[in-house]
């Protein structure tokens, strides 16, 4: 890096951010990472293990999803030494524990930007300078330091941890000296941190994982020397500095968060437990909020919470205040946490490695509407045994036998990668169901918008049923007159439909698709424990790896863990859990895409099954059908490219357009079940793409390589004929072909997303505002529609919830307050919304509004000194489609002007008017 240094440049402080210092303290210009470096591979050696990594990798979010810029291109970030070390783990050369031992980390988390403030990950490097391997003069943080060609890294493991195959050629003296430097430095740092920041826990109840203590123990720092200890006369950083509320928010009451059930006379034990808990955590911690206890004396200023608040979540509430030894984290402009603009999403608490931000109360998962009183907010209170709810410690011990299609059978611990404080906070988010031998249990119903998935322990069979699609019936005379309910009738207890498939208990997970895609469940799942269901027992093999065996001599229950959506999201922060889940998801998505689409419509039943089997199994040059996820805006095939593959869409919408003549002309839209790319492949000569296909929203599709597709068409001639003869509508669900200008507007306005667009026929609408008044009257005075918006033909598409196919509003809700429930389309925002405004920002159509809470908090009113007006300042509101009945806005319109339509229905109406010149 020294070659970039320019000693002539004189820099002011404000300019230094453009630069970094190299390992010789020379200022060097920061190089902006480029996508070209994804392919630029470098080899570095860490403790004798060579590993090849690209210079840059795609930046990813906390869920491992690659981030893209406005042009849909991957955002590159520099590959660090720690990334290279993690690659050794991914390759199976090191274990996770080994990595932690060699390169301990405190301030670093892989999903946030490294800041290298704790320096626990310090390593020694030697790099090539003027053609010679030169040892660095100072240690560098592995979490932040970029990889360079031929870099040699020495960690604290030294010669004992050196690659045995390379030991003979290693310079033992140099390595021992380097590792000794690293060890001494890191130990000293750990001792400083422990002396100043390690305290006994507040209570005996474990509420968080103290990573500082774990790292210190691993470095053999048990007791810091006395001279380093913090003098007892020093003031605590928890003393509030002029604790004057500086924010504009109304204070959230601490105690009246208890529900009526918890305060009533039937459960006095819960009230006492909560009072006792509060007396332990509130005294001396004035910066706390109702969710998080803030203890500045434990804080090591690692910046994890600051980055979690600004990178993982978008709130940017946490920063720093003070200087020197008095520096501490602050909320807004040093407000008390509960008075700041913090929405108490808990992300900071989950990322804190020392317990400086720790848990104060549990959340109540929405999934268990049948038994909310069984989950008290006091984390010291146990659950009723019969409820099946698991505590944090029980979650850690949950194990599953997973028969991976690619990696074979193994035991996985799904919750071990989740921060302990998160598990503790969400105790009750996992429910254990046991199906006794000879019994059945319906796990989920087709058509429901579920918010849970089912983790399978390893035994049992699970039957998947689906009903045939039902056609919509027209309302009768009275229905038309009075406006009948559009709410689908619950079909519980009725025939579950046709048996589609039978899954076994070692397939890890069921029902995950509704959680991951926010679409209704596509099948009913019934768990069955056969009378001779074998018991599953956990053990260990000779290498100490956990194993599980089925004991055919003993009968045992089928165990299923029902987990909420947020737990599934957290599980996916771990790369291994993410891979396991994605493996199953991908396999099933591939099967459902191929079997459920319109591709094989021209084949009879027997041929269809043969074709599906062929498509899933056939490989040419070791390449077969593969599942792909495409980000919104990303181009799938480009006009002019050589045709290489055929695509089947599983989820999402794509637009097909040409740029001939300069402007973009949309030719057609394709959605789930459609396919594209066949025309160029079916021509006699290798074809060229005549149009570009790009994703309009996140798309999942199956890519079938051209040779496989051609082989399939050769094998099933009827399929080729069917594809060549197929006449497909320009827009799915629309009979006519819209003119280009109409289709362009249709796409630009996002109308294809709408399942319940509120449209006003401006030819009939007298602008009487009855729709808005009816909405306001039925929703506490807050109208959830605005009689304003874009026009489409003669229609005004009012600003109101569209019930989108892809509900962006639900992405990332920190408390899972926004969702669909039952089998209805309406997007419900629960009363426990914390008012963070994320859904408002996510909605592309401005349909969600943040409003002041209009009603007093009944919990606060019932509390002795509680002020019923003191409550969360605002909450998100959204059109709830009047809970499935005919919406009031439509029912109140006296002029036959207001309708709820799907996007295709609206387009059909416009085309009809264009044809009849109305």
């Amino acid at each position: 890096m020294a070659e970039f240094a320019d000693p002539e440049i004189s820099l002011g402080r404000e300019e230094e951010s453009l630069f970094a210092r190299d390992d010789n303290d020379m200022l060097v210009r920061r190089e902006k990472e480029t996508r070209e470096r994804f392919k630029d591979l470098v080899t570095i050696v860490i403790d004798g293990y060579a590993v090849e990594v690209p210079r840059a990798v795609p930046k990813s979010d906390s869920q491992g999803n690659s981030l893209r810029d406005q042009d849909g291109q991957l955002i590159p970030r520099t590959t660090t030494i720690y990334d290279a070390a993690a690659e050794l783990v991914a390759q199976g050369i090191w274990s996770d524990d080994e990595l932690r031992t060699r390169i301990p980390v405190l301030c670093h988390q892989r999903h946030v930007t490294p800041v290298a403030v704790c320096r626990m990950c310090s390593v020694h490097i030697s790099s090539m300078k003027r053609g010679k391997l030169t040892a660095g003069r100072k240690l560098v943080p592995a979490c932040q330091h970029r990889v360079e060609t031929n870099m040699v890294v020495t960690t604290r493991a030294g010669m004992p941890g050196y690659n045995p195959d390379q030991k003979d050629s290693a310079d033992t003296k140099v390595i021992e000296r380097a590792s000794s430097d690293v060890n001494e430095s890191v130990k000293m740092l750990a001792e400083f941190l422990v002396a100043d920041h390690f305290h006994e826990p507040l209570t005996e109840t474990k509420r968080y994982e103290n990573e500082l203590s774990t790292v210190a123990r691993s470095l053999n720092v048990i007791e810091p020397r006395e001279s380093l200890r913090r003098p007892p006369e020093m003031p605590s950083k928890n003393t509030a500095q002029e604790a004057i509320p500086k924010s504009r928010r109304i204070e959230l009451p601490l105690i009246p968060t208890l529900s009526v059930t918890e305060r009533n006379e039937e459960r006095p034990d819960l009230r006492n437990a909560w009072d006792e808990w509060n007396s332990q955590v509130d005294e001396g911690y004035p910066y706390s909020s109702r969710t998080v206890v803030v203890d500045h004396d434990r804080c090591i200023l690692c910046d994890r919470c600051v980055r979690a608040c600004s990178e993982v979540k978008p709130f940017k509430v946490i920063g720093h205040t003070g200087k020197g030894y008095g520096t501490r984290i602050s909320f807004d402009l040093d407000s008390i946490m509960r008075e700041s603009t913090c929405v108490q999403c808990g992300e900071c608490m989950n990322s804190c490695p020392t317990g400086a931000l720790s848990l104060r109360r549990r959340v109540r998962p929405r999934a268990w509407e049948d038994s909310p009183e069984q989950i008290p907010v006091n984390p010291n209170t146990s659950f009723p045994k019969s409820s099946g709810f698991l505590t944090a410690d029980e979650m850690l011990n949950v194990w599953l036998l997973y028969e991976s299609p690619t990696r074979g059978p193994r035991v996985v611990f799904p919750f071990r990668s989740i921060p302990y404080s998160y598990l503790k906070w969400n105790e009750g988010a996992v429910r254990k169901w046991e199906i006794e031998p000879g019994e059945k249990k319906v796990l989920c119903e087709e058509g429901e918008y579920g918010s849970t998935a089912f983790l399978l322990q390893g035994t049992g069979t699970f039957e998947i049923y689906a009903r045939a699609a039902t056609t919509a019936t027209k309302p009768g005379f009275f229905g038309a007159l009075f406006g009948s309910s559009t709410k689908p009738k619950p079909k519980k207890g009725s025939d579950p439909g046709n048996l589609l498939a039978v899954r076994t208990g070692d397939e890890l997970v069921l029902g995950e698709m509704t959680c991951l895609t926010q679409r209704p469940r596509v099948a009913t799942v019934i768990g069955i424990a056969e009378p001779d269901n074998p018991e599953l027992t956990k053990g260990e093999d000779a290498n100490g790896w956990t194993t599980a065996t089925r004991n055919p001599k003993k009968r045992g229950p089928v165990v299923v863990y029902e987990v909420t959506r947020n737990m599934l999201d957290m599980m996916q922060r771990s790369a291994s859990a993410r891979e396991d889940l994605q493996e199953m998801y991908t396999l099933r998505a591939l099967q459902t895409s191929v079997s459920g689409g319109r591709l094989f419509a021209s084949l009879d039943q027997v041929q269809r099954e043969q074709a599906i089997t062929f498509l899933l199994a056939e490989k040419v040059d070791d390449k077969g059908a593969e599942f792909r996820r495409i980000a919104a805006g990303e181009t799938i095939v480009a006009e002019g490219d050589t045709a290489a593959a055929f695509y089947i869409i599983r989820l999402g919408t794509v637009r097909v357009f040409t740029t001939a003549g300069g402007g973009e002309q949309v030719l057609r839209l394709l959605s789930a079940g459609d396919y594209f790319g066949e025309a160029a492949l079916l021509s006699d000569r290798p074809g060229v793409r005549t149009a570009t296909v790009a994703a309009l929203d996140p798309v999942e599709l199956v890519r079938v390589p051209g040779p496989v597709f051609r082989a399939m068409c050769d094998k099933f001639p009827a399929l080729r004929e069917g594809l060549q003869a197929a006449a497909r509508p320009a827009v799915p669900g629309v009979k006519g072909t819209p003119p280009p200008a109409v289709l362009r507007d249709y796409v630009r306005q996002g109308l294809y997303q709408g399942q319940k667009l509120l449209v006003l026929d401006l030819k009939s609408c007298t602008r009487c505002d009855e729709c808005t008044r009816a909405c306001a009257d039925s929703h506490d005075g807050n109208a959830r529609l605005l009689r304003e918006g874009l026009r489409f033909g003669d229609f005004l598409v009012a600003t109101s919830c569209r019930s989108c196919h892809k509900p962006y509003c639900m992405d990332g809700c920190p408390v899972d307050a926004i969702h669909r429930e039952g089998n209805h389309l309406e997007v419900v925002i629960e009363n426990h919304c914390i008012g963070c405004g994320l859904c408002e920002r996510n909605c592309p159509y401005g349909s969600i509004h943040m409003v002041p809470r209009g009603q007093a908090n009944p919990a606060a009113a019932a509390y002795q000194e509680g002020n019923p007006q003191v409550t969360a300042a605002r909450r998100a509101v959204n059109c709830d489609l009047c809970n499935g009945d005919e919406p009031y806005c439509v029912q109140a319109c006296p002029h036959e002007a207001a309708y709820r339509k799907t996007g295709p229905q609206l387009l059909d109406e416009i085309l009809h008017r264009l044809e009849t010149h109305e």
Binding site: A480, L481, F482, G483, D761, L762, K763, S764, C765, T766, R767, C768, E770, R773, A774, D777, S778, R787, E788, D794, D885, E886, Y888, V890, Q891, A892, C893, P894, H895, E896, T916, E918
Partner: protein
């Protein structure tokens, strides 16, 4: 509303007028035929059994017609679709006309009955007038006002646009402190003229519309003034002037929208109070008539 939306405005208005007269005529013919068949007296006498029956039927229809107020008031209650109520309101209202005329024996009666009858005819006429307006004006707004907005927000948006206009002209006549240029784009006498145009002509018009008595109210005068200014300013400032003219044009369209709104809704100012007055008098008339029957 009355005849669906598949026909032209002209067709629908003609149909409404014809329906009004047709139903009245048909009712009268039916009553005459009944009279010829000696089912009842002809000409009908209000105090005869047939006249009272028509009065009761007419009164019931009037009560039903008034019930739409309650339907609109209690929007939260699921009392059937308002469009179904409105449809019945219109058809029953039209049917009510011949029924009441027959009840009255095609005459006015005493002072109370005559007043009630006159109010009834006015209510019916205003209702038909309103129905005609509702067929015609929504389509006219759709065609003539492309930048239509919520009528109650026009003055607010006018203020917003006035602020924008102020900023545009200020950017032409002053130099911001951080700018490198020493001279504004427009200075000297032209600056004074532009600022006078802003303060005396443009801003009052954007804020108050046609009530401001600004010369910009007239489209031709506005065009002339902007054209003159456009010639006077440097070419770099012409885009800004175009924007100012666009704001003025938008305000003019909104003024037109407000006028159309007035005609679209003003009939209710007649229809509703007269309906209440007519119903009150009708009750008095019924009580008095039954008392002395």
């Amino acid at each position: 509303m009355l005849l669906g939306k598949t026909k032209t405005v002209q067709w629908r208005i003609t149909a409404i007028v014809l329906a009004t007269f047709g139903i009245t005529f048909a009712g009268a013919v039916l009553a005459r035929l009944g009279g010829l068949a000696t089912l009842w007296e002809w000409p009908p006498v209000p105090s005869s059994w047939f006249g009272v029956l028509c009065g009761v039927v007419g009164g019931t229809i009037v009560f039903f017609e008034m019930a739409i107020i309650l339907r609109k008031r209690f929007r939260r209650m699921r009392l059937g679709r308002t469009r179904a109520w409105m449809r019945l309101h219109i058809w029953m209202g039209l049917v009510c006309l011949p029924v009441i005329l027959i009840h009255a024996g095609f005459g006015y009666g005493g002072p109370l009955a005559a007043t009630t009858m006159i109010l009834f005819l006015l209510v019916t006429f205003s209702g038909v007038w309103g129905l005609v307006m509702q067929q015609w004006l929504p389509q006219k707004i759709l065609a003539d006002i492309p930048g239509e907005t919520i009528a109650s927000q026009i003055d607010r948006l006018g203020e917003y646009h006035a602020d924008e206009a102020k900023r545009v002209i200020t950017s032409l006549t002053t130099v911001p402190p951080e700018a490198e240029a020493a001279e504004p784009l427009i200075s000297g006498p032209l600056k004074t003229e532009l600022e006078a145009f802003r303060d005396d002509v443009l801003l009052p018009y954007l804020q108050e519309g046609r009530h401001s008595r600004s010369p910009l109210t007239a489209s031709a005068e506005a065009e002339r003034r902007f054209a003159r200014l456009r010639e006077a300013v440097p070419p770099e400032a012409r885009d800004d002037l175009d924007r100012l003219q666009e704001l003025a044009n938008l305000r003019r369209r909104w003024d037109s929208q407000a006028q159309l709104y007035f005609w679209l809704h003003n009939w209710q100012l007649v229809h509703l109070p007269l309906s209440v007055a007519m119903t009150t008098l009708m009750i008095l008339h019924a009580v008095r008539a039954l008392k002395y029957w």
